[in-house]
Symmetry: C2
Subunit: 191 residues, 2 copies
């Protein structure tokens, strides 16, 4: 297995989606601001972060992310034509999974992690979904956190990390890249 | 008047103090981690951010910050021997203000801002205290936000920016400095 990397765009004040997340607005009201850098920048220092397909062997996503994204992902999953195996953490398996899809369902976070390790082989595992990532961080399963800080403050929404009674998580800064649109921060999780 | 600058140390997940803030632990349980960089680093790229006294003409602080800090600040206020005028936003004036102190009391955020402008002359105004800063940001009174991102995640505590029903605040990145201990991010508030 390679590294387990949580890669997420975040507002400066720590939100990974704006308020009122719903099927028609998966990132909340105005939350698409978080992903603009990925669609609207030709800067190679930004583009490099979008080209992770070659090094990623599996992705773990939460059920909420799956439900919000399936209309866009279809059978191919979050990585499109690369069709990387995508493990969905869910207590139940939906009845309408697209035929020939990349999805693997797991009923616990630990089981999802095991299935992702098998699918990834020597490659990295990606993680999507705030709640799923928080559980993986708490279990010590995340090696790196790659945060794309968007110069905006939301004031409310879905929080990057929320853990009322947990231990603090120490990080080591390993990369900082400033571009016009966004600031990329990469950290190693100190376990 | 110069610029109005909100200068704050923050965990990666958006907290400016850890959980359980109280008089004996003004930054909450383990929250002193946020200020370690200021005390333990000889890096000149860190030191420069501590030497703002020459350019700052007044400081605005909230009453909670005042109450938590007065045992340490005494009559001289947050800038020590520089004795920069410090405007405290408070509905009431405490009975035990130290004699010959730098404190000016104001019963509203608008009044505090006016008093700070008068005191600052041509110099900058600094801001301390999450709640006070949030009100000043919402009113459009803050020109720059200088965030020192500490490589740690708290999961709970006092939030950098919390505003359930407000507009998003757009920023422009103007400076990014990576050091071993901390990442300094300076933004201009787009009004």
């Amino acid at each position: 297995m390679g590294k387990v990397v949580y890669d997420i765009s975040m507002s400066l004040d720590g939100f990974v989606a704006a308020a009122n997340v719903r099927p028609e607005a998966g990132l909340g009201d105005g939350g698409e601001r978080l992903h603009e850098w990925a669609f609207n920048s030709d800067d190679p220092r930004n583009r490099q972060f979008l080209e992770v397909v070659g090094t990623t062997g599996a992705v773990i996503v939460g059920r909420t992310t799956y439900d919000l994204s399936i209309p866009y992902w279809g059978a191919d999953g979050p990585t499109g034509s690369a069709r990387i195996p995508t493990v969905v953490v869910s207590h139940s398996v939906p009845g309408d999974i697209p035929g020939g899809s990349v999805y693997i369902f797991a009923d616990s976070i630990e089981s999802a992690f095991e299935k992702a390790k098998q699918a990834a082989g020597d490659k990295d595992i990606g993680v999507a979904g705030a709640n799923t990532a928080q559980q993986l961080i708490t279990l010590g399963f995340i090696d790196e956190i790659l945060v794309h800080v968007v110069p905006v403050m939301f004031g409310s929404g879905v929080r990057f990390f929320e853990q009322p009674d947990g231990e603090h998580v120490s990080l080591e800064t390993i990369e900082v890249i400033e571009t016009k649109e966004i600031i990329h921060l990469r950290f190693r999780v100190i376990k």
